[in-house]
Amino acid sequence: MIWEVFRQDKKGDYHQHCGNVHAPDREMALMFAQIQHARRKPTNSIWVVPKDEISEVDAEHAKFGGTTDKSYRWAMTFNVGAVAEEVADSETEQVEAEKNRGES
């Protein structure tokens, strides 16, 4: 049975997919995942998920983001002149806020 492995560097970070392990059950999967995916990298937490429990839709079957031009939605469209600094500051603030939300 295949278990997908998700590793979190440090508290508050997202768990990121880092590979998989073969294991007969959850306990063994966690045990193998520790050694295989967390021994050489700084790790705060590991998730294992049965591969079958993951649902997928890919680019072949979906038009991700639609088919018409929506580039106006990118904040960088407005990233010009004096306004740019303000936008950049705002973006930094939001990134900071998001990080703090995660860590609290």
């Binding site: 392990v21 073969h22 294991a23 306990e27 063994m28 045990m31 193998f32 050694i35 295989q36």
Partner: protein, 289 residues
């Protein structure tokens, strides 16, 4: 238990030094030889995952051996003195760690590591308050890796016994290895004085007999729990086990099985063939880490 601290390596009396040295050699040799045996499973373990896990455990044990051999270097020995050019008759490891694995028998590897890791766990805790500061300071580092080893062994044990074939193999490995595992707690009979001084000075805060009693209780309980027949040997009042329960060679006093010489020649082969006179160092001294 609080004990008076011994001084550093250069200020020990001969008597103290002999005791510390004996303890370090028992531990370092156990870890080194077991690690070497574990590496035989490289590319041969049942699955890629179990292969990687046992290889990592071997690396851990090798790392622990390095920590203990490094403390022996405090007494003026070099790595070739301690390993590569050493008289194989002076190695003090338990015969449990030197035996070859029964061919293709993963149960042998798991039962062996279970017996060993339970013993190492007890010993490390008995060193956490060692009167010898250099040992005491390194215990925590080693303990940090030992929990995984025991978890690994127990998880595998439980699963191996879930089929008839697996249970038969675990039983056979247990019958074969248990007498040798008892030598983990045997004193070095050629160094009885030093063994007594280890306890007297609190270099280790529990006696071998005391640790063996707890170990017997724990492993008997675990094995019984997974449906394996394990009958603990008779233990005398002084804590020694019946000689009939022990194997012919105890290891601790330098007396080993015929397999030891083969293994020793094997791992020192490259050193001899390349006519080396010193060990290649590619890692920092543990004190500088």
């Amino acid at each position: 238990m609080s004990v008076e601290s011994l001084s550093g390596p250069t200020d020990l009396s001969d008597r103290e030094r002999e005791a510390v040295e004996l303890l370090l050699r028992r531990m370092a040799d156990d870890e080194f030889v077991l690690a070497d045996r574990y590496t035989e499973w490289q590319v041969r373990a049942p699955t890629i995952e179990s292969d990687i896990a046992i290889a990592n455990i071997a690396q851990d044990e090798l790392g622990h051996a390095r920590l203990w051999y490094d403390l022996l270097e405090d007494f003026g020995y070099t790595e070739p003195d301690l390993i590569w050019e050493r008289d194989p008759e002076t190695f003090r490891h338990s015969t449990l760690v030197e035996l070859p694995f029964a061919e293709g028998d993963w149960a042998d590897c798991i039962v062996r590591s279970y017996f060993y890791d339970e013993a190492e766990h007890l010993q490390l805790h008995a060193l956490a308050d060692s009167s010898y500061p250099r040992i005491r300071d390194r215990v925590e580092k080693v303990l940090g890796e030992e929990d995984y080893h025991r978890e690994h062994a127990v998880n595998w044990l439980r699963r191996l016994v879930s089929s008839d074939e697996g249970r038969r193999r675990v039983q056979e490995a247990t019958d074969r290895l248990f007498p040798h595992a008892l030598t983990l707690f045997e004193p070095a009979r050629d160094a009885a004085d030093a063994e007594a001084v280890i306890d007297e000075l609190g270099v280790r805060t529990r006696t071998l007999a005391d640790m063996r009693a707890e170990w017997l209780e724990t492993v008997t309980e675990t094995m019984t729990d997974v449906g394996i027949d394990l009958r603990p040997p008779a233990v005398s009042d002084d804590g020694s086990v019946d000689a009939d329960a022990l194997p012919d060679h105890l290891g601790r006093d330098g007396d080993h099985t015929e397999h030891w010489r083969v293994l020793f020649d094997d791992f020192t082969g490259a050193y001899r063939e390349m006519e080396l006179h010193e060990a290649t160092r590619f890692m920092k001294d543990p004190d500088d880490e």
